[in-house]
Amino acid sequence: MSHKKMTQTKNQRNVFGAALTRRGFVKTGGALFVGFGMVGVDGLKNSAKAATTRNSLDPALPESWIEIHPDNTILIRTGKSDFGQSTTFTAYRQIVAEELNAPFEAITTVVMGDTDRTPDGSGAFDFLGSGTPNIRKAAAYTYQALLDLASQRLSVAKTELTVKDGVVSGAGKSMSYGDLVKGQQLKLTIPVKGDLTSVMGLSVDGNPPMKPVSQYTVIGKSFRNSVTASKVAAKETWASDIRLPGMLHARMVHPKSLGSTLTSVGALDKTRFPNAQVVVKGNLVGVVAPTEWEAIQAAQQVAGATKWKDWKGLPGHTRLFDYLKRDADWKTTRVTKSDKSKGDVTPAMAGSAKKLTATYQLPYMKHAPMGPTLAVADARADGTVYIYTHNQNPQALRGEIAMMLSTTPDNIVVRTYAGPGHYGRSNGGNAGAEDEAVILSKAVGKPVRVQWMRPEDFQWSTQSPAALSDVEIGLDANGKMAAYQIDHYMPAMQDDRPIGAVLAGLPTMPAPSEKGVFIGSTVNDISDPWIYDGVVTLAERGHGTFQIGQKASPLAVGLRDHSMRTPGQFQQNFPRELAISEAAALAGADAIQFRMDHTKEERVIGVLKAVRDASGWETRPSPRAKGAGTGAASLRGQGVSVMFRSATYWACVSQIAVTPSTGAIVVEKVTVAVDPGIVVNPMQLKRQVEGGTVMGVSIALLEELQFDESGITSRDWRTYPILKVADLPEIKVVLLNRPEVGSYGGGSEAANALAAPAIAAALFDATGKIARRLPLKAEYVQALLKV
């Protein structure tokens, strides 16, 4: 793509660094299209990588970020796929409507995810971009272009114009956006930077003027999610609904273990399955058939007769923490240190009046979407490949499939549809099945639909990595934290290699290693921002290692990990917040007051006060009663946790009842206070927080990946249970809307991470016994309370 010097000509105008061009006049229709390009605008350094020239949005094509239509309707496009956050259908429309001074309802179409129909890529995370998502800047540029057009058309200076509900007025004249674009082909080219098919995608560059927060009228209202009605009425097209002409169904025959190579493929019983066909490539075995039921049964039959080499190279979940402590290689990977670390911890610790020394452990967990991964691939004779799936990062998948096929992304198109929430597992571009569908489609020359069965989805998908943390806290004579030291240990968190490509021996990105960059690295960064500035000396360190079994497995896979909701930060926040509650008890202080006494950050204090008031918190030190009972009478306790994530402050109080004789915990009430600055959509945020809280209670009480020396043995909802409706606590959400902050933070993550440290602290409050490992299953708690 060429860099063109932008000059002010009759047909091209410079709008705050964006280029507005009139490409011609048309008799009917007309529109303003907002595209992107690497225009060399004064003062802007654009470094966007021109990933593709074909099957991507080209600035010369009408597909673009935002389209203003003559009938006053507006279309927006985003590479971000909605996975249940509702953001693209609610907050994004509100943000665009706000910046454009147009009604929310004018935005009638949201195009998302498809790699050939949306501009910017990146994953389904950080939707609100700490207050400035791509779509906001795109809208801000568009607004300036519309003002520019109106100024010309109405012959009124831009500064004299006002806009309300999509109508521009000035000097007694007015014109709607629709009339401004009617009969014209207008194009606005805005500057971008980044790499389209990388995990982070493209970002809009420059600094267009944004609407002052004090003038907001659309942001802050509870608009409904426009996709909800179509899902509820069974009108939505789900990824699971995609059927192409001539398409075959497939099921995979995955290896016996995470390190098993293929010895021999079982013979297909052609008398029972006359229409089925077996495809083998390296260690990848798949069975295709015209009907789904034949594919399922034939794959089961072939699997039963297929032979694999045995492999045992994993510690098993019962020996996991011994392995992490003693056997894992923590030396090869660079140790990280947080930028908040300060002072010399060692002498401060030595001189402390009281000291807490503790180790905290978190198991592997599954993202566990309600539906297993699936994809339809159509590898066409001309070399193009179309993939129809449900993916959190379609552009990254596009890049991975191109790499697998040794072709360019030009030849790959990914279309995304609704599906079960992934909670991070496909943010790196794949969840499994997409690559396998492509390999099988190429092999049989027809479109192929691969769907994993439930056990495969547990056994062959990625997990959220286990972690352990060693903490030391030193209290001075006044019960204040003089020294805080934490060492976090966690295997690599982001294995984005498509598993089918790995099994087939096709090209992929490398496995995470100490030499990898960014998320391909084994480095364990500090992800939980420190908020207790009153602590005198602080040392936070992160230790990383390879994925367990990755180096030993002949398949080079082992326990593959992937970021899951609040990734890394959950693993670091649980030990921190539980340790802070323990330190408060050691100081004889109330756990909320203790936290307030160690921070000057007004928003931290704000969420703590809000959660204290709303939850019915009893201000007093923990534990409530010394010594655990073994009786059948339930004991009650309370616990608190705090987090800062994505420009949002969170605090949580959990109130529980525990029965010592059984170890059973009932979480009675969870109260969450959230301060994101500006609340964009109160109703949607409330539902997100409630949902995340349920996942958090589930994680705290139930979730632990089971695995043995060969592979994952969690295979269904009985061996990986999640919270059921009967165990739902009362959930109270307190939204703190603070327009004076001037920006909005994210709300889809963090809620899932808050409950666990608060519940563990509540168990301590109730019993005086501290559980420093999740999950708080009845057997574990019962044994703990007997001691």
Partner: protein, 173 residues
């Protein structure tokens, strides 16, 4: 070949008799309400009503459904219209009060499990007009063959939507 009645319409299906009903509904009859969640009757994503009772279509064979009345999510509006004696014209313009409540309460997050949740709610509210919270929790948890699971954690919103639907249905709209 088997004959089943789906959402009030007689359908002849070519699939083998042992085919799980779910694949027949999704692949042969192109209905998108019931979803494949586990294939093990452990989650409820594939639920349909079989003669008014909630079953898991992933483990129910076509032959077991033959000759019986299957109602899927797509069929809930017509089911309600028939129960209320609405005209066929009105019936096409309406949703079941349960579906409306699910929208009013903005219940779905990803929405993948909600087919089963709405099917279960229909079975419950046809049996108990005004269930208590304990009865709602019981229906979604311990009534056979397994709990209805939601990974996004929409349980609070489900209970609120069932209560809202119960109120509307009791009023007869």
């Amino acid at each position: 070949m088997a004959m089943i009645v789906v959402n009030g319409v007689r359908r002849e299906v070519q699939a083998p008799a042992d085919t799980p009903l779910l694949y027949v509904l999704r692949n042969d009859l192109e209905l998108s309400g019931p979803q494949f969640g586990c294939g093990l009757a452990q989650c409820g994503a594939c639920s349909v009503l079989l003669d008014g009772k909630e079953i898991r279509s992933c483990v129910t064979s076509l032959s077991a459904a033959a000759g019986k009345e299957v109602t899927t999510l797509e069929g809930l509006p017509a089911r309600w219209a028939q129960q209320k004696g609405l005209s066929p014209a009105d019936a096409t313009q309406t949703l079941h009060p349960i579906q409306e409540a699910w929208i009013e309460e903005q219940t779905p997050l990803c929405g993948f499990c909600q087919n089963g949740m709405m099917i279960k709610a229909t079975e419950l509210l046809e049996r108990v007009a005004s269930p208590t919270i304990a009865e709602i929790k019981e229906a979604f948890t311990t009534s056979a063959p397994s709990a209805h699971l939601c990974r996004c954690g929409s349980y609070t919103a489900i209970i609120q939507a069932v209560q809202r639907a119960a109120t509307t249905m009791a009023k007869g709209r």
